[in-house]
Amino acid sequence: MTMPAPALPEASAAPGGRPPDAGSVGRSPGRLTWMRFRRDRTGVLSAFVVLFFFVVALAAPLISMAYGNDPYTQYGQEREGLLNEFGYPLLPNGGISGEFWFGLEPGLGRDVFMLLVYGIRTSLLIAAAATLLTTLIGVVVGLVAGYVGGRTDYLIGRGIDILLSFPSTLFFIAFMPVVESLFVSPREETPVWLRTVSLITVLTLFGWATIARLLRGQVLSLREREFVEAARITGASPARIIFKELLPNLWTPIIIQSTLLLPAFVTAEAGLSFLGVGIIEPTPDWGRLIQRGAEVYRDDITFLLFPGVSLVIFVLAFNLLGDSVRDALDPKTRR
């Protein structure tokens, strides 16, 4: 599926980028931001939720050890009396029991709790890596294009045009077999790391253009301001102007963009996996769990419930967190 076009962020920070001093005690802007953030209860709660998801993802093997099951063993197939003849769990509520906390997967009979934990790990790893890279490349390219202008801006601009008009999903479907035939012998399995790296590469390749275009526009309006001119007159190098004068004013759009990107990448990755070019079985995947859930929900609603609810919570918390951070950085836009 295509990624939804990110919405334009609200107007950027005040000239100078320095939030007005609060009170008479001298506090650094960072400290002020932190104080404002801590006062925002929704923000703090969301931060904990997001943190929790990342901890779960990172600690998946430890959880598996403590819990006693793993995401690959087909419990329902190995043991009699767990699944019926159609492959659905025999116990009510999707086969929830003391041994299988979130029940069993219909068909193969794997442990849903473990599938979810490991699926979150896969999806978050890919989405987080792609978001980081996208933001990094987008910020650098956007800043350079906007600040340097002229020919450079023109070339980068046309490059971005091409990328934005490119059907990324189609590209990936065509790209993956080429990568496989280049790097994998026909009698070997495609390694999971190759799939992961390709996914991250392609998501990044088509993701950075939007963020770069956005920042270029912001920089264009900022670079004519007095504080930039002042810096230039005092003999600051372009690098210093870009990273010390311009960048601090751009945190708001950057943070909003990347908090929107991360959940979008999680869903994009799920979509590709569904089309058979992303992460495939037996590697657990969050998005694929939900897709499978949507197929069997009439007979086993529980199987859709856990991955679905956890994804809703995660996306919601991540977006709220982004809002709160933005508010904390820039109190003027506070509602």
């Binding site: 659905y88 068909g107 009698r187 009439r298 609603i301 859709l304 419930l305 679905g308």
Partner: protein, 592 residues
């Protein structure tokens, strides 16, 4: 006949929020009966086509036996996944196209489906099921009186001769290969009747009598000509390539419109005389067909049973795997189902040109986790019975045997496989399993990999694009060791189950012999079995051949496929047809 690619499950990715909203109103999840006691009203065995018999001239006389309680009139709707890519009889070798053709194409012979599900081969355009006096080398058919094309002109032997000659033309490569091979005189090249050259082997003696001179004895040639692939095409209205879009009707309906991939509409052909037709009842006035409906969608529409969907059936779409449990658990829905054993068998080809050691091949069969594979695809109702032979129970003379314990230990026997691998001296052979990449097959692959690894195999899985799956495995030098395919007999005798798929002399690229099995003894035995005239004797010979081939383990038999379908509550006379393995259109009527 060719097997359609495994149906790709293309459920639309549902947005999380939407899915959750839906789930709130769905019935409580999980839990279910361990086994279902909903005994099918007709057992699948009773419907097996092996009960087929050859009818007499009396059986071939029209009109067709009336369906109890049937009334004339109304419109029947048909929804299915695909459009009919081919309608020209000479280009049809797929059961789905054959089912549609039953409404507007007639052949020399055809199967009559009785109320109890038994089949009789009777004359369709011919007065009887054909006669031969020299053990199947020369076949004589006599045409009925009053048989007409949709423009009212009579169907003559010149038309029939033309229909058989045009199968040699360049534009009809898709049809069945049998008559094309058997009617060609030794050493002759023939390119169809269009440049004035004709075949002497198809002899139109007079307006009513046609004689076929085959180049070798084929005692079941009267079954061959029952295939839609040998349906009648009018000499006067043969539009060559264009005929595929708009065939000229000889049956009870004619095509009034056909929008590719969208819809097709049929209306009565007033020149069709029911008194000449022993098979077709043709109760409804019109047929309206719509394409592009996936199995899950059509199942949900039949379950909902709203509006015009009440008068709707599907030819091929089965009950979606995800809904089988629901349908089986609802006696009201079970009343509207058709089920039966199709002529299709499915199997995993072992690439015999790569896996040369017979012990390794036998170990593969022993270790294969068939039960897990079946459970993932809908169990016995959804996909079929465990197979352990090449010839399916629907074939005349089928003899059950189980060389590798596939019936007794369907979950796989890793211990036995380990022993075989040890005897072969390769305890951990690497097996590349190539599969059709659909969500269901991905899961099936996980089960296969787990099962084979228990026996010590090192399994490499290779996903293949569903659109080019058969092309990829059809290459002679393909790098894979195991890959799935399916096959069905074209008529219910053993010859078409074995000749095209296990005759080593027929190995070629993109041919059905995907396992590249070539054994001189088997090749000789095939020739011997093909020449046996007596059907019962021939059946025994084919069954013996089946066992002889399976001892060499060229394939891993998977399922004798079953069909399980639903239809709307406003229709009657919807039946399962054992030869096509689909819903049967000729006795359908709209309930008044």
């Amino acid at each position: 006949m060719r097997y359609p690619r495994k149906r790709a499950v293309t459920a639309v990715a549902t947005l999380v929020a939407g899915a959750l909203a839906l789930s709130a109103c769905a019935q409580g999840g999980g839990g279910g009966p361990k086994t279902t006691n909903a005994a099918p009203t007709r057992t699948q065995d009773a419907q097996a086509a092996s009960k087929v018999k050859v009818g007499t001239a009396e059986d071939s006389k029209g009109p067709a036996a009336a369906e109890p309680g049937a009334t004339k009139g109304g419109t029947v709707n048909m929804i299915d996944r695909d459009d009919f890519t081919h309608l020209d009889p000479a280009r049809i070798w797929l059961n789905y196209y054959m089912t549609a053709s039953k409404l507007f194409t007639r052949q020399l012979t055809e199967y009559k489906l009785a109320q109890d599900g038994s089949l009789t081969l009777v004359g369709d355009l011919a007065t009887d099921a054909g006669t031969t006096e020299d053990g199947g080398k020369t076949w004589k058919f006599t045409l009925k009186d009053n048989i007409k094309w949709q423009d009212g002109s009579p169907i003559t032997t010149a038309d029939i001769k033309h229909s058989f000659e045009r199968i040699y033309a360049d534009f009809t490569p898709e049809g069945p290969p049998y008559a094309e091979e058997w009617l060609l005189p030794e050493g002759k090249k023939y390119k169809g009747p269009y440049d004035g050259e004709h075949l002497d082997t198809v002899e139109a003696v007079d307006d009513k009598t046609i004689v076929f001179h085959l180049n070798s004895p084929h005692p079941d040639f009267n079954f061959t000509v029952a295939m839609t692939g040998y349906g009648a095409v009018p000499k006067k209205h043969d539009t060559k390539e264009k005929y595929d879009k708009m065939p000229f009707s000889s049956g009870p309906y004619k095509i009034v419109s056909h929008v590719t991939d969208k819809s097709m509409d049929l209306e009565r052909n007033e020149h069709w005389d029911p008194a000449t037709d022993a098979i077709r009842n043709a109760y409804p006035d019109k047929w309206h067909m719509e394409f592009g409906v996936q199995a899950l969608q059509s199942t949900d529409r039949f379950i909902a049973d709203n509006g015009a969907d009440k008068q709707t059936l599907t030819f091929h779409n089965p009950v979606a795997t995800e809904r089988i449990q629901q349908v089986v658990g609802d006696p009201e829905l079970m009343k509207r189902t058709v089920q039966g054993l199709t002529p299709f068998t499915t199997f995993y080809n072992i690439n015999n040109s790569r896996v040369k050691d017979v012990k390794v091949r036998q170990a593969l069969i022993s270790a294969f986790p068939m039960q897990q594979v079946r459970q993932l695809q809908g169990g016995e109702l959804g996909i079929g019975k465990f197979a352990s032979t090449i010839i399916s129970p629907t074939v005349l003379g089928h003899e059950p045997f189980d060389l590798y314990g596939q019936q007794t230990k369907p979950q796989g026997d890793p211990e036995k496989a380990k022993k075989l691998l040890a005897e072969a001296g390769q305890p951990n052979p690497t097996i590349v399993y190539a599969y059709n990449q659909t969500p269901t097959q991905e899961k099936v692959t996980v089960a296969i990999k787990t099962g084979l690894e228990k026996a010590g195999f090192k399994v490499v899985t290779k996903p293949l694009n569903p659109a080019t799956y058969y092309d990829a495995i059809g290459k002679l030098d393909n790098p894979y060791d195991v890959y799935w395919s399916g096959w069905a007999t074209d008529w219910p005798t053993g010859s078409t189950a074995i000749t095209l798929t296990y005759d080593g002399r027929k190995i070629a690229a993109q041919q059905p012999n995907y396992s590249h099995f070539n054994d001189p003894d088997v090749n000789a035995a095939i020739d011997k079995a093909s020449a046996i005239v007596d059907p019962a004797e021939a059946g025994k010979a084919w069954a013996a051949l089946d066992k002889m081939i399976m001892e060499k383990a060229p394939i891993i038999p998977e399922f004798y496929q079953s069909y399980f379908g639903l239809y709307g509550s406003g229709l009657g006379g919807v039946k399962f047809h054992p030869v096509t393995g689909e819903q049967y259109p000729n006795d359908v009527y709209v309930k008044q």
